[in-house]
Amino acid sequence: MKLNDRIFGLGLLVIAIAYGTSAFHFPEPFAGSAMVGPGTFPKLLAALLGLCSLYLIFRPDADNPWPSARTGLELVTAVVVLLVYTVALVPLGFIISTTLAVGTLIWRMGAPPVRGFGVGLAAGLIVYFLFTALLNLPLPAGPLTMLEVY
């Protein structure tokens, strides 16, 4: 199958057209030369990407296999874990959120969960104290305010 490159090429073509058209609608700059406005370089890039995307559509390479549905789910889980890690970083603090995020990732990658969360906690504690106490870089403490180093 050669579908991947074709679909990707099609997507890029749409982007190239959208990117290129908006390059024609930039406001005139007050300063600077009329020779090369803000749109000149983007127009060149849109043309380059357009040509490349046409090549991908008409001369695609063979597809790389996609992961199975199960592995795909693991990948989505990993991305979700990273997003939740980001959201939880400030409210839960660095140590708790790191324990949860690193622990979940290790567990999902096939290690025993208890050991995974243990490693996560250890890593969180070490990095937290390394950063706050030794390097003077603040990391969110969350509910564990008694750990804050002033």
Partner: protein, 502 residues
Amino acid sequence: METLNFLVQGFGVALEPYNLMFALAGAFLGTLIGALPGLGPANGVAIIIPLAFTLGLPPETALIMLTSVYAGAMYGGRISAILLNIPGDSPAMMTCLDGYPMARSGKAAEALAISAVASFIGSLLATIGLIILAPLLADFALTFGPAEYFALFALAFATLGGITGKNPVKTLTAAAIGLMVATVGVDATGVQRYTFGMLELYEGVDFIIAIVGLFAISELLFFIEDAALGTRKPIAMNRLKLSWRDLVAILPTSLRSGVLGFFAGVLPGAGASLGSFVSYTLEKRVVGRDGRFGEGDPRGLAAPEAGNNAASSGALVPMLTLGVPGSGTTAVLLALLISFNITPGPLMFSQHGDVVWGVIAALLIGNLLLLVLNIPLIGLFVKILSVPQAYLLPIVTMVAFVGIYSISNSASDLYFMIAFGVAGYFFRKLDIPLVPVILGLLLGPGMEQNLRHALELSDGSWWTLVGSPLAIGLWAFALIGVLAPYIVGPLLRRRMPSGPAD
């Protein structure tokens, strides 16, 4: 000897205890990262960059540390190649050919020692080459005008895939994507471009975030996909029995391969992969029938190791003198320079001489440190190999998170990083190389600026871009860079072992 003077000054910078300490830490960390199977030098340097930033290191110290990481990763890469038969990056593939058989026949310690010495000789030769060639090239580059620079950037993109690259159009696609992302933000004339009204995008996309996302986060996703592979058990170590004669026996090989590798590193489009490949092939020719290449011949191990370490130092020549990196890792080093407001190129040699020569001296010292560090600590590095990847990658990801977060303490940077990671995963699935994307992000502003200057000087005539013999020559090379993979590529690729691309 003006150069010698600068070099002495450089040693003065690199030997300051503070800098020396960071060089040592960098060399150690780099070897560790390089030894982790699957985690290449570009990844390693990418993860460490944000840390160098948040620590508030002065530019020369940060650069010295990262060059040491770079050199260390090259050293470390050979450990997993020899003991596990897993190359950490593509140049190390050739190391597997004779290194792994040698280790299997009970000579693991000798294989590691020989490769360390060969790496050292290769790097040493290449650093001397760098010292001689870089100032000459920097002087020559002073004659470049904006039109020539524009052509040079195009040349860099055209040759980045290397002549063994599979599909140059995909390299160009990747470059275009990177350049387009670089146009996001308020441009030099004060006009907002592609910001969609988002405040976070006014200053453009921070390439450090993009680099860490593309490399580190996409690596995590790839690991999850390959998780079924499990960990391989490294070959057990034996007591080192190495005589001077063994070392003398690989000396000619290392010298030949070092010189060859250096030139492969300097030339655009060749890089370390080709450096180690050409060195190995040539050595096989030279030694002829006496050799047992492929069955654990020490010379077959020394050649690619000297070749790839020389090439990686050689790759610093175009990066430092022209501001045009030829490999993923040098691109990441370029990112560091740009974020310190140091523009690489000929002027850097006069304006930031202490930085340049400090780095070159650090390269020499770093290699010596690595050679010394590698012999007593080899047992420790071997232990690292047996740590299951399920534990390593989540921790590496966490380090990337902390690094990016502590640059500006903002969650939006982390979202951008995750987005780049997911994009990087899809790019890799589609064989779209990541390095041109990053190079596009880095060189985009400079490329546009040079285009603007060139056209202003010529009153708007586009012919100025091909207005000098030098510019025409550069464009011609760029054209060759795009076309050569179609002509020479299939021939070369057939002879190279296939493996992971960096």
